[in-house]
């Protein structure tokens, strides 16, 4: 396939992506639906120019690889060609986390109900994305699976709606639970294991310019067969954990310190250990959303 370019309109950003990998094109089209523009509009302002292309050289014939570029920078080592779409998604995350200064960006899932948002910052393996996928398909609006973009000096989070990244055992679970959802091809044997992306539902995309007020932060920890355990965090603890999960804390400096300390003063903070997603959903709805003003 010859190199082709397409545009992704993912409020608040526009990406223009060049690729010569059919798998990338097919998955982007499937995952982003109407946000995917096959024909590049040269008049359109583009925030980020990215490319994901096949590696060249002899290796290309016996072990084809994909390379990701942001402008001319190559932040990652090449990956196997079958991982190209996952690489593009990770590359888009890296691009925003490394360059955006307009928002305080926390590594976190974000879901909203009744105009109120809860952040779910968590390390890999905590079950964050499975929880995000479950909530996004059970009456909550997805703002992001990966990054909370907080407007500095406010408690407002703006959506950055993207596919949800599911790994290993979560893949089959999600396919069983959400039979009507759209899934990307599987990227096997990545550094995170097997990975798949699940497309956001259309209502999340339709409302991707509607911000939400943050009313809670929940640090989830999946524990097999565990009953739901809820621990309220004090402000000092919650602040430190939130700051550690903020991609651009050092770059924003004083602004991020003020934003996060003010935010912590106005929200409820919890750590939860769980295995039953319906129990978690009930806790979030009854104890955080309904009790917050």
């Amino acid at each position: 396939m010859k190199k082709r370019s397409f545009q992704l309109f993912l409020s608040p950003f526009v990406f223009q992506i060049q690729t010569d990998i059919e798998l990338v094109l097919e998955n982007a089209r499937l995952m982003y639906g109407e946000r995917f523009k096959e024909r590049v509009d040269d008049e359109q302002f583009v925030d980020y120019y990215l490319s994901i292309v096949k590696s060249s050289g002899v290796r290309h014939f016996y072990k084809p690889q994909a390379r990701f570029f942001c402008d001319s920078r190559e932040p990652f080592k090449p990956l196997r060609l079958n991982q190209a779409f996952a690489m593009l998604e990770w590359g888009m995350n890296w691009t925003i986390a490394s360059h955006e200064l307009q928002y305080c960006i926390v590594h976190s899932g974000v879901l909203e109900k009744d105009g109120k948002a809860i952040l779910f910052p968590a390390p890999p393996g905590s079950g964050k994305s499975t929880l995000t996928a479950f909530l996004a398909n059970n009456g909550w609006r997805l703002l992001s699976d990966e990054m909370a973009m907080i407007l500095p000096q406010t408690n407002q989070v703006i959506p950055f709606v993207r596919p949800i990244c599911l790994k290993n055992q979560s893949i089959q679970l999600a396919k069983n639970w959400f039979s009507g959802a759209k899934f990307s091809s599987i990227a096997r044997d990545t550094h995170k294991g097997d990975v798949i992306h699940m497309a956001p539902n259309s209502s999340a995309f339709k409302q991707n310019q509607v911000p939400a007020k943050i009313v809670g932060v929940v640090f989830p920890q999946y524990r097999p067969n565990a009953e739901l355990a809820i621990y309220q965090l004090d402000m000092a603890d919650a602040f430190m954990q939130l700051a550690q999960n903020t991609f651009n804390f050092r770059v924003l400096g004083n602004s991020s310190f003020t934003t996060l300390t003010q935010l912590i003063e106005t929200i409820q903070s919890f750590e939860i250990h769980y295995s039953d997603l319906e129990e978690v959903e009930a806790f979030l709805r009854e104890d955080i959303i309904e009790r917050s003003s």
Binding site: D234, A236, F239, M240, R250, G253, N254, F257
Partner: protein, 79 residues
């Protein structure tokens, strides 16, 4: 006697769980599990506080080494 260096941002949490200090010159954040009143007393009368609680000596040393606080002359005594 110590004082907070110019430019440091301090936020005491309203639930009294502690306070956080941001050093914009090094981008480091320190969180102490003491109230603002306790922190101010510690800076003001560090000798007494350290005599009563040995671990506070390390806290002050640490904050000083990180460039967050600085020693300042004690106020002159009136005769």
């Amino acid at each position: 006697m110590f004082t907070l260096k110019k430019g440091m941002q301090l936020h005491p949490f309203s639930d009294q769980s502690g306070l956080s200090i941001y050093n914009p010159f090094t981008t480091e954040i320190i969180t102490l599990r003491i109230t603002l009143t306790q922190f101010e007393s510690l800076l003001l009368d560090s000798g007494k506080a350290c005599a009563e609680h040995a671990e506070l000596h390390h806290v002050l040393n640490d904050l000083s080494e990180k460039g967050i606080i600085e020693a300042s002359p004690s106020p002159a005594r009136s005769s």
